[in-house]
Symmetry: C2
DNA sequence: TTGAAAGCGCTAACAT
DNA sequence: ATGTTAGCGCTTTCAA
């Protein structure tokens, strides 16, 4: 701590030192009606004393916590870490502290966290929640909740255009001459998985999509998927995400299958792995960071406009995805070449 | 929201519904002196009403915020993400919400965040802070601050035994017959860098350590370091961290240098990259997750025992590191083989 | 074992 | 433009 004597200064300390009433200090600090002179002098005193209004006290009277909450399934997953960074950065601009909870991919922990955080925040950001639609609706207030990378009817959300991105990837492969494309799905029943399916359903005419067995959306999952994949006769593969793609790459290299000469590989997410794998991974980029920032903005809007009493119509924001082309995809006529 | 009518129930609502005074409800919820009968009935009513004590109100009277803060330089860096996950998990056990702030590797943002969070938390965890020792001491209260992966005299901390880990790596290489080991340092002046230097200074006799130019502690930094490295005549290289090692691997492969046959490579941190790079990276594992959890525990201890008035002696915890041996290191007598 | 009363630090009417 | 008053939801003496 700095040289200050003891406890943190209160609004009364500032008031006394500035020779005004606490109410005036309050007005001077927030944007109340005060003469420019007093405002300046009060703020000066406040600064000198190192005065910071107590969030607790303010929250108690205003009914706003002055903080928001963010729930993610796994902070160590690059995708969620990016979202969290976006949230943190945008929240800092608004001088809004963020409670972050890692829910360990557990729906139950998620719902617990929502219940306990609801009370101490002005709003919640739920990133790719694992809980079911009904559970979420039961526990989340539509007026103060924004989903990220997930849609639930009745709740506001910000999500990447995953279906569109999937289509882009297929078009890219189609243009390269691929006609038989394998798809390695992740876990069943996730929103992101459903979106990919929607994209696959709109494959360009002439493109056959072969579904492999689902695997864990991890590097290990990719390792597992490689061998079965080679029996499908596909000339290209679309992986559930970059991690799975990286696992594929590793196992394919071990099997002596050359990428992209023998097989083209496309990932999903454009995480750090995509740029650092060998060969560099062609992948569908989702703007997670922007999604996080956008979610904060949307929440701020909801919470600000919210008290208009009427049940607010949920807002659904879609962020464009884009295909990042690297070295893991090539035209089919390069097959068999050295 | 659930079916509740309107605002969140207060202690008065519970008191009324249970036919007791608010004071009794308070005692029943916390561990006060209440008859078992009343306690049970009050808790029952509270549960039925979905009552959650307001943190703000409680904090106002008790002087404790009932929350802690965590500052990290970059949430998307695997190392810090792991720490954050450890913190989040341990804090959940204590039912302690965590304010997380990504400070974008900026000392100024860090110090701002400390100042603004100090007031609304019971304690702060500073992970690898970028600010200088004096700045940190000026702004951080020793009684309520724990550093993670950094030491500053006068402040409590939890850190991995980086120097020891470096020594382990050198011993491993020495045992494999390497006598000339290159070291690729990261940025100047970081605590972690200093620790590695300390370990390097105790290299086994007979081992020559060649310092390369420092690079950004990233994949790109590793790419840059590879070519100069090859001019040093070293048979093995110790990289600042796994990312740099991965960059080295990529560039070495492009240059036709085989790892580990022609050159052994050792990383640092044992992040996800280490296991998924090709070849798998021998690396010094630091238990970041446990460090995060341990930091929460230490903070809890400080804050609990703290009010013993006397300036508490800073506690410095050291966590053991361990060498994870994978495929990127081999005996020197394998050099030149196919 | 329980209740009554005071007050934590702040903001928001309401006066002036 | 500023001061006075009341009270947010809770815990904590102090009495009973």
């Amino acid at each position: 701590m700095t040289t200050t004597g003891g406890a943190a200064p209160t609004i009364h300390d500032v008031a006394r030192a500035a020779g005004v009433s606490p109410a005036t200090v309050s007005r001077a600090m927030s944007g109340g009606t005060v003469s420019p002179t007093t405002r300046a002098s009060v703020q000066d005193v406040a600064r000198r004393l190192g005065y910071r209004p107590s969030r607790a006290a303010r929250g108690l009277v205003t009914g706003r916590a002055g903080a928001i909450g963010l729930l993610v399934p796994d902070l160590t997953h690059a995708f969620f870490a990016d979202v969290a960074k976006g949230v943190s950065g945008r929240a800092r601009l608004a001088e809004l502290p963020v409670f972050v909870t890692d829910t360990d991919e557990e729906a139950a922990l998620e719902l617990d966290a929502v219940r306990s955080l609801r009370r101490s925040t002005d709003g919640l950001l739920l990133c790719s929640p694992r809980a079911g639609d009904d559970e979420l609706r039961a526990v989340a207030d539509p007026a103060t909740t924004v989903l990220v990378h997930r849609r639930v009817p009745g709740l506001s959300s910000v999500a990447g255009d995953v279906a569109g991105g999937t289509r882009q990837a297929l078009e890219h492969l189609h243009a390269l001459g691929h006609r038989r494309v394998a798809y390695v799905p992740g876990r069943y029943g996730s929103w992101a998985g459903t979106q990919r399916d929607a994209g696959l359903a709109e494959a360009p005419p002439g493109v056959d999509v072969v579904r492999c067995s689902p695997v864990d959306p991890t590097f290990t999952g990719g390792l597992q998927a490689a061998d079965p994949l080679l029996t499908t006769g596909a000339s290209a593969v679309l992986a559930y995400n970059d991690l799975v793609a990286a696992g594929l790459l590793a196992r394919l290299a071990a099997r002596g299958v050359r990428v992209p000469e023998d097989l083209s590989v496309v990932g999903f997410d454009d995480g750090a792995v995509a740029a650092t794998s060998r060969p560099g991974l062609t992948t569908v980029a989702i703007p997670q960071r922007r999604a996080g920032a956008a979610a904060v903005e949307l929440l701020l809007r909801l919470v600000t406009e919210g008290p208009a009493d009427a049940p607010p119509a949920p807002v659904e924001l879609t962020l464009a995805t884009s295909l990042v082309v690297r070295e893991s995809t090539a035209p089919t006529d390069s097959r068999g070449r050295t």
